[in-house]
Structure formats: structure tokens, C-alpha cells
């Protein structure tokens, strides 16, 4: 139909362009990549399946192709909690593939990583076959549509060789400790642009050139016999939901998606734009699926391959250039997928399957491994593509593109529970993950993969009809008698049930090892943790580490890296023993090249001991120090409580004492009040009852009544004074006062008392003292009070009282000295209490209210001074008031 050269030359030129761009980008790999490069590289999700297959599916089932693209959108919505965490973990642990990720999460299990690798390879084979089939079909359409199956095989083999070469050249050119393939990413991003542009071109051609705008296209399509079914939802709810869920899982779990999304991510900040940029890309490319499909239905002859409409539509319209463009776009879609997938798979096969085995072989620990690694990877890429070719040859013609792809999606979805639960649920265990993934894989194989082989007559069809050994419940399309679902939903349901059920069930049943728990903690708490999961307790010699690194990079570079790590760890660069942090750094460096599990084995061979999980130790230390902290706080609290209790007890005792004093005071007051009242009352009664008492006696009684009333008044006045003073209500008039004058007045006021009792009063008042700040009336009250006391207690006739005023320390002092009986030492402080008088209560009660000294002391204190007594029994007493200088 078309000249071969017309087709092959542009295709070859396009491949050349890709290589050129990749090589250029590889040279610029030291510079930080722009965010859009990462966003576009995620377009690797859209393969031949999207490019050719979606149109084919839309031609038959309308909008049913779409859930596969809605799922990734939903994952992107959840991207921050989930994808950001996966990204951070992968950076912290130098994750190189999805197998590495799952293996590392579950205690760096090599078994688990190997199983994941195996499933990834088996699951990817149909998907790669899909691409080969698409490429070979598209080339056949362009070159010779009439050629037979033999020609297709030959073309497919050619395509396989081409794609494998792509993979080797882009993905396994050298071993890179960072496992970043800048050239590969750039080429994939370019291919994303090309396939979108080519697909859009065909879509616009269909809508605007072949028809009079998109409404015109759909209006004409409405006349098609199948129009009604194509414009309503075909898939039952369960199938639609299943497709949506499986595509969500695939967004992360497909090896190539994990490679692009996680491993090739250079900067975590690029995730945010990718989260909406990637769905937007999917939206844009899917915008043209329906117009192209409907155009094909309207314009192409019945019976033409619906999967090839993208090519045959422009061909039929005579637009050869456009069909060539479409072919280039399709090639982009296919090559991108195969290259990234094979690179991802080869990394897994090499790091997680072969290397752990090779390292155990005798001699495996000595040789320079760079060459071996590259060889293994290249062989793995070629093997994976060849497997795809074989599958395509056997199965390819039985299924449409989308159906083949969905088989792979279901296989990849088996990783989702282990990843999602592993990132968020600390208690998910290795045993659970192992059993879950294995069971899910077996169910998948039984219900989807083996039937696909059987339907293509590779296996005997027997089990498809009767189940295993004729047991009906093992029927692959109706396991346990479950019918009414399409094969995909059916397989997805049973495999996920087994997978999640075992993962959760075994995880809650068995307790994992300390090391596994530490790894789990490092993953789940990645945003909180330091990122350093474990250190090596064993001693490794620097020379051994250098030799180890030297097997994967040039010795000079190895030495430089080691020195770098030592410097970063702040360790002594001359010490023969390497710091544990350095050993851990070497392990991470190696992990970046050969995966966590293998790096672990290698470093263990040098360090000689299994790692102690620092986090685990830290946790124990944390817990015990937490407990210590608690007990310390408790002790503190109990000490405080004790102190408070003691204080309260003291306060309570003081309160009780005060209460007792108050009671005593009240009883004293009532006693003091009753005594004069009783006297007044009894004499009044006598006067009242005996009117004919003689005058002299009457006057005598009246005199007693008057004197007792005066005493009562004095008592009440004193009590009010004292109460006011203590409550702070009394009005004080402070002014500069010459004490000498005040004291002379007081002496004069009490002169009659002295004369009555025959007691001599001597004044010794210093005349040259400065005035003090005082209330003159109150000071006089104090002096009168003390003088009255002195008179009372001095012996009548022979008593001598001296009133002195002199300069004292800090101010001036007033002293009243008598020669009375004195005050016993035990009473000296008591006499200042209210109603306390020296002497024995009722019997020899001295005259006075018993409040005088209390009032005097309160006045002295109000002046900032003191009132004290000194006395020796039998030698008189000295009351001294000190007042501070003004």
C-alpha cells in the first residue's frame, strides 16, 4: 500500500532522534531536572493499550475503556498521604524497584523480594506482548496489510529486537549509584509529548476534516445500529468498579510506574505538580478516543480490526502522512512502555533474584562485579522482551489489546495491599505479606493467566470446562461457584480476598522479629524518624569496605566515596575500623546499585554481624527513659504533696490555736463584762429594794455603780480600739512629734495616781532629741498605760517609778521602770496577749481591763517600733518602747 521506505525511514529517524535526545540529557545529568520532565515521564502509563486499544474497546463497548484512566486520577488525589510517603521512604532507603521496596519493608526479606520479582516478570509478560503485538500490527498495516501470520511474527521479532536494544542502551548502559537514568527519563518524556500530539492530530483530523466538527460526527454516529448501546454505560457496576480499583493499584504497582514515579524521581517537590499534571495528561489523551472510534465505525468497512483504527482511519482517507504520524505515536507509546518495564524488571531480576544467589557462590564475593551486574541486567532485559514475544506469538491473536493488558494489571495489583498496608500499618508482617502475595498470585494465575494460555491451546483446555480434577468448585471462571462476573472482576475479587485476608490475618496472629519491627517502624514513621533504620554493631575494616565498593565502581571513586562518608560521619579517617555510620552509608550506597537485600548480604560479609536495629534499641531506651521520667515526676509530685500537707497541717494547727484563742477571748470578754455588770446590778437592786437605806450608804453604793460603769465603758472603748487597730480601721495622725513634751504631759496626767499610792515618779527625759514621726495622742496613751501599770504593781509608799527617754539604736526609746514584784520569765510574753494579766486569775486580780498592754504593743508596732519587757522576779520590771527615727 505504501512504500516501505516512506514508512521505515521516518521511523528510523525518530529512533535516532530519541537516542540523540537521551544522550544529550545524559550529559546534563548533573544539573537538576525541571519538574515538567518528571510529570511528562509519568505519561509512560499510556501505552499501545491506550493508543490503539482504547479506541478498539470504545468501538465495541463505548465509554467502558475509561475507568482505567479515572483510577490514576483518584490515586493522585490521595497522592500526598500515600505517594509522598512512598517517595520519602524510597529516598531514605535507596529503593531501586518495587521488589526492593516490599522486601525492605518486610525485614529486608530476600525471599519476598524474589517472589515479587517473579510475579512482576510473569505478570508483565502479557503486557510486553501487547506492545509487541501493537507495534507489529501497526507496521503490518503500514507496510502490507495482506501479509499472513508468518509476516507478523517476523515483524514482531524485529520489533522485539529493536525494543530490547532500546532497553539495553537506555537502561543498562552503566551502573549508577543513584539509579537515575536521566537520558531514559528525557526520552520517555519526549515520547509522551509525541504520542499525545500524534493521537490528538488523528482525533482532530477525524472531527474537523472527515466530519463537520465533533457534533456532526456524533450526530451521524447516532444513526449507527449500535449507537444506543455505545452511548450508555455498558459495563455492569461490578466490572466498572473492578476496573477502577485495579487501575488505582496499577498506578503505583506496575513495575514501570514505580520506576518512573519513585525510582527516577530526583526531587520530592516535583510530586505536587505531577499529581495534577499526570491526570491532566490522561484527560487530554483520552479526549480523542471516542471521536476516533466513532469515525472508524462510520467510515471503515465492517470487519476491520478495531484496535488499528488510529492507523486505518487516516489511511482510508488517503492521508498517508497522518497515518505515518499516527504510527510514530504508536511506536512511542510501545517503546516507552517496553523500555521502562524491561529496565525496571531487569533491575529487579538482577538485584533481587540473581545477585543474592550469585553472591553466595564461591568466588562471588571476590571478583569485580560491575561487569557481571551489567551483563545480568542486559541479559534480563533481552530475556523479558523475548518472553513477551513468545507470549504474543502464542496468545496474541486470541485477545484484544485491552484484555491482555488487564491480565497484567491484575497481577501488579497483588502488590498493592502489601505496599499500602506496609506504609500505614506498622504491624503488617513479612509472613503475612509473603502468604498474601503468593496466594493472590496463585489465584491470579489460576483464574486469568492459565486460562489465557489454555484458550490459545498452549495448555489443554480441559480444566477450563471442568475445573481441576473435575472438581466444579475449582472452575477458573467460577471459583467456588461464583458466577455472574466478567473474568477480570472475578479474578480480582478472589485474588484480593486471599491476598488481603492472609496479609491481615497472619499479621495479627504472629509477632515478627525485632529487626523486622524496626524496618516496619522506619517505613511507617518515615516522616518522624531519622531515616537511619539500623547501624552495624560489628566492626568492619575500612580496607574491606573500600574493596567492596571497588567491585562496583572504579577504586579511586570508591576511595573518594568512602572518604566522603567518613567525613560526613565525623569519624577518624585514619582508624582501621570503620565507624558504624560509615558502614551503614556504604550499605546504602550499594543498595542504590544492587538493591537493599543484596547490599545487606555484601556488607554483612564484611562487617560480620547482623545489624542491630537502632530504632528498636532506641525504642527500648525511649520507653525506659520515659518510665524513668514518669517516676521522677511522680516523686517530685509526692514531695510537693508532702510539703503541701505539712504546710496545711501547720496552717490547721495555727487555725486551731487561733480558734482556741478566739473562744478564750470571747469567754474572757463576757467574763470581764459580767463582773462590773454584776456589781452594778446587785447594788442597783439593793437601792431599789431597800428605799429606807441611809444616805451615806446610798452614796457609797452609787459611787460603786458609777465606778463600775466607768470601768465597763473603758473596757468597751479599749476593746473597740484594739479591734479597730487590728482591722486597720483606726485613724492615725502621723506628724513630727517631740516625745519629751508628750511624756511630760503623760506624767502630769498620771500624777494624781502616783500621789494617791505614795509612789515616787522620776523623769529622765533627754531634751535634745529630734522629733519622730508619730501620732502624739497614741504615744501618750501608751505612756499613760505603762505608767498606770507601774503604779498598780509598785508597793504603796515605797514604790519608785522612773520614766526615761533616750537615744537608742535606730531611733529613740521610752522606758518605764518600777521596783514592783517583777514578772516571771514564763509570763513575760503572755502579758501582751489580750485579757492576760500577770497573777493568778480571779483571786488576786489586779485592776485594769487586761487589754492595755495589747493595745500598747499594737500602737508601737503601728509606728514601726516595738514594746518589750525585761524583768527579774523581785527586782521590778522595765517596759521599753522603741520608736524608729523619723
Amino acid at each position: 500500500m505504501t512504500s516501505s521506505l516512506f514508512v521505515l525511514l521516518p521511523l528510523a529517524a525518530y529512533c535516532g532522534l530519541l537516542f540523540g535526545v537521551a544522550a544529550l540529557a545524559e550529559r546534563a545529568r548533573r544539573r537538576p531536572p525541571p519538574p515538567w520532565l518528571y510529570v511528562l515521564s509519568l505519561g509512560v502509563y499510556c501505552t499501545s493499550w491506550t493508543y490503539y486499544g482504547s479506541v478498539g474497546r470504545a468501538s465495541v463497548r463505548g465509554i467502558d475503556f475509561l475507568p482505567i484512566y479515572l483510577g490514576p486520577t483518584l490515586v493522585c488525589v490521595l497522592g500526598w498521604p500515600l505517594l509522598a510517603k512512598i517517595l520519602r521512604i524510597s529516598k531514605a532507603h535507596r529503593i531501586t524497584s518495587i521488589a526492593d521496596f516490599i522486601g525492605s519493608r518486610y525485614g529486608q526479606s530476600r525471599l519476598l523480594a524474589g517472589l515479587v520479582t517473579l510475579i512482576a516478570v510473569v505478570g508483565s509478560v502479557p503486557y510486553i506482548a501487547l506492545q509487541l503485538k501493537a507495534v507489529s500490527s501497526s507496521l503490518l498495516v503500514m507496510l502490507s496489510p495482506e501479509a499472513g501470520a508468518g509476516a507478523e511474527s517476523a515483524v514482531a521479532l524485529g520489533a522485539a529486537v529493536l525494543l530490547a536494544a532500546f532497553g539495553v542502551l537506555f537502561g543498562a548502559a552503566r551502573i549508577d549509584p543513584d539509579e537515575h537514568h536521566r537520558g531514559l527519563v528525557t526520552a520517555i518524556a519526549l515520547e509522551s509529548v509525541v504520542k499525545l500530539a500524534c493521537f490528538a492530530a488523528v482525533g482532530l483530523f477525524a472531527g474537523l476534516v472527515l466530519f463537520d466538527g465533533f457534533p456532526d460526527l456524533f450526530a451521524r454516529a447516532a444513526a449507527l445500529p449500535q449507537a444506543a448501546s455505545l452511548t450508555t454505560l455498558q459495563a455492569p457496576g461490578a466490572e466498572w468498579t473492578g476496573l477502577l480499583l485495579v487501575s488505582m493499584a496499577a498506578t503505583i504497582c506496575l513495575p514501570r510506574q514505580f520506576q518512573m514515579l519513585v525510582v527516577e524521581n530526583r526531587d520530592e517537590r516535583h510530586l505536587a505538580p505531577a499529581l495534577w499534571g499526570f491526570p491532566l495528561y490522561l484527560f487530554a489523551i483520552n479526549l480523542f478516543v471516542l471521536p476516533i472510534a466513532f469515525s472508524g465505525l462510520l467510515l471503515l468497512p465492517p470487519g476491520s480490526d478495531p484496535d488499528m483504527v488510529v492507523l486505518t482511519l487516516p489511511l482510508a482517507a488517503g492521508a498517508h502522512w497522518l497515518s505515518l504520524l499516527a504510527c510514530i505515536g504508536g511506536l512511542s507509546a510501545a517503546t516507552a512502555m517496553v523500555v521502562v518495564e524491561s529496565v525496571a524488571l531487569s533491575t529487579m531480576v538482577c538485584n533481587d533474584l540473581l545477585l543474592p544467589v550469585l553472591l553466595r557462590l564461591p568466588g562471588g564475593k571476590r571478583a569485580d562485579l560491575t561487569g557481571l551486574l551489567l551483563g545480568v541486567r542486559r541479559a534480563a532485559i533481552i530475556a523479558v522482551v523475548l518472553l513477551g514475544f513468545l507470549y504474543m506469538q502464542q496468545v496474541g491473536n486470541t485477545y484484544a489489546l485491552v484484555s491482555i493488558g488487564l491480565v497484567s494489571f491484575c497481577a501488579a495489583a497483588q502488590f498493592a495491599p502489601a505496599i499500602v498496608l506496609g506504609v500505614f500499618w506498622r504491624d503488617a508482617t513479612r509472613l503475612g505479606a509473603l502468604a498474601g502475595i503468593a496466594a493472590g498470585f496463585l489465584v491470579w494465575a489460576w483464574t486469568l493467566f492459565l486460562p489465557s494460555l489454555a484458550l490459545s491451546d498452549i495448555l489443554t483446555r480441559g480444566f477450563l470446562d471442568t475445573g481441576l480434577f473435575g472438581w466444579a468448585w475449582t472452575h477458573p471462571r467460577a471459583l467456588f461457584g461464583l458466577t455472574g462476573f466478567d473474568p477480570i472482576t472475578h479474578s480480582l475479587f478472589w485474588s484480593m480476598l486471599a491476598n488481603i485476608g492472609l496479609l491481615v490475618g497472619l499479621s495479627v496472629l504472629a509477632r515478627p522479629s525485632a529487626f523486622e519491627r524496626a524496618q516496619a517502624r522506619a517505613f511507617v514513621d518515615v516522616f518522624a524518624a531519622s531515616g537511619e533504620a539500623s547501624a552495624w554493631s560489628g566492626a568492619a575494616r575500612r580496607a574491606d569496605l573500600a574493596a567492596l565498593l571497588g567491585r562496583f565502581m572504579e577504586p579511586a571513586r570508591a576511595q573518594a566515596r568512602l572518604a566522603e562518608l567518613t567525613r560526613a560521619a565525623g569519624a577518624d579517617p585514619r582508624a582501621p575500623q570503620a565507624d558504624p555510620v560509615v558502614v551503614r552509608g556504604v550499605e546504602r550506597l550499594l543498595a542504590g546499585m544492587i538493591g537493599g537485600a543484596s547490599a545487606h548480604v555484601l556488607v554483612a560479609s564484611v562487617a560480620g554481624e547482623r545489624p542491630v536495629a537502632v530504632e528498636e534499641v532506641m525504642r527500648i531506651v525511649d520507653e525506659s527513659s520515659e518510665i524513668r521520667e514518669y517516676s521522677r515526676q511522680l516523686e517530685e509530685k509526692s514531695r510537693q504533696l508532702e510539703a503541701t500537707t505539712e504546710e496545711l497541717r501547720r496552717a490547721n494547727a495555727a487555725l486551731q490555736e487561733l480558734d482556741r484563742l478566739k473562744d478564750e477571748f470571747v469567754s474572757n470578754v463576757s467574763h470581764e463584762l459580767r463582773t462590773p455588770l454584776t456589781a452594778i446590778r446587785s447594788f442597783s437592786e439593793i437601792l431599789y429594794e431597800e428605799p429606807d437605806l441611809d444616805l451615806e450608804q446610798r452614796l457609797q453604793f452609787l459611787a460603786i455603780i458609777v465606778s463600775e460603769s466607768e470601768r465597763l465603758t473603758r473596757l468597751i472603748t479599749d476593746m473597740l480600739d484594739l479591734a479597730k487597730m487590728q482591722a486597720g480601721d483606726l485613724h492615725w495622725q502621723f506628724e513630727p512629734v517631740q516625745l519629751e513634751a508628750v511624756l511630760r504631759d503623760a506624767a502630769a496626767a498620771t500624777g494624781q495616781l502616783f500621789r494617791d499610792r505614795g509612789v515616787a515618779l522620776t523623769l529622765q527625759l533627754a531634751a535634745d532629741l529630734p522629733p519622730v514621726q508619730a501620732d502624739a495622742d497614741r504615744i501618750a496613751q501608751v505612756a499613760i498605760n505603762l505608767l498606770s501599770n507601774a503604779v498598780k504593781f509598785s508597793p504603796a509608799g515605797t514604790g519608785r517609778v522612773r520614766l526615761r527617754l533616750f537615744r537608742a539604736e535606730g531611733g529613740q526609746a521610752i522606758e518605764v521602770v518600777d521596783n514592783g514584784p517583777g514578772i516571771p520569765p514564763e509570763d513575760q510574753e503572755m502579758i501582751f496577749d489580750r485579757f492576760r494579766q500577770a497573777g493568778n486569775g480571779m483571786t488576786d486580780k489586779p485592776p485594769g481591763t487586761g487589754l492595755g498592754l495589747a493595745i500598747c504593743r499594737a500602737i508601737a508596732q503601728r509606728h514601726g517600733g516595738t514594746l518589750a519587757v525585761s524583768s527579774l522576779p523581785g527586782e521590778g520590771a522595765t517596759f521599753r518602747v522603741t520608736l524608729p527615727a523619723a
Binding site: I63, L66, W80, A219, L233, E268, A272, L275
Partner: protein
């Protein structure tokens, strides 16, 4: 780079948007738009693509808003 851990409000918005997407993208809502056309295009197609575009738009708005707030808070 703690900025990668979204703030609680952004988390809540993304969670709500996820639920909205789930409701819009799953039966019965996804197939609700019946026969008939909008601007000459089958109503089902217009509805599904419009819902899809809405979710992407809201996602972009939420992420850009979170990014802006993170930058201003960072200073």
C-alpha cells in the same frame, strides 16, 4: 523536607476530594446521564468527562493553594 508532609487542612481537602471522585466515578452516578445530547455530543460522554475535569481542576486548586501557603509560611 517536611514540606512534603501535607498540613491537616490540605489533608482534609484531599480526603474530601477523593470521596467526591469516588462518588462521581463509580456507579450509579457515573452512568446516570441518560440518552440525549449536549451541544450535539452524547450526554453520557459530556457528563463523565466534565466530572473528570472537575476533579482534576479541584485537585490542582487544592495543591497550588497548599504550595502557596507552604511557601509563605516557610518564610
Amino acid at each position: 523536607m517536611p514540606a512534603m508532609n501535607p498540613d491537616p487542612q490540605t489533608r482534609g481537602r484531599l480526603g474530601a476530594l477523593f470521596l467526591l471522585g469516588l462518588v462521581l466515578f463509580l456507579p450509579p452516578l457515573v452512568g446516570l446521564a441518560g440518552p440525549g445530547t449536549v451541544l450535539g455530543i452524547p450526554a453520557l460522554f459530556v457528563a463523565v468527562y466534565a466530572e473528570w475535569a472537575l476533579v482534576i481542576l479541584l485537585l490542582a486548586v487544592v495543591l497550588r493553594h497548599a504550595g502557596r501557603r507552604r511557601r509563605t509560611h516557610g518564610r
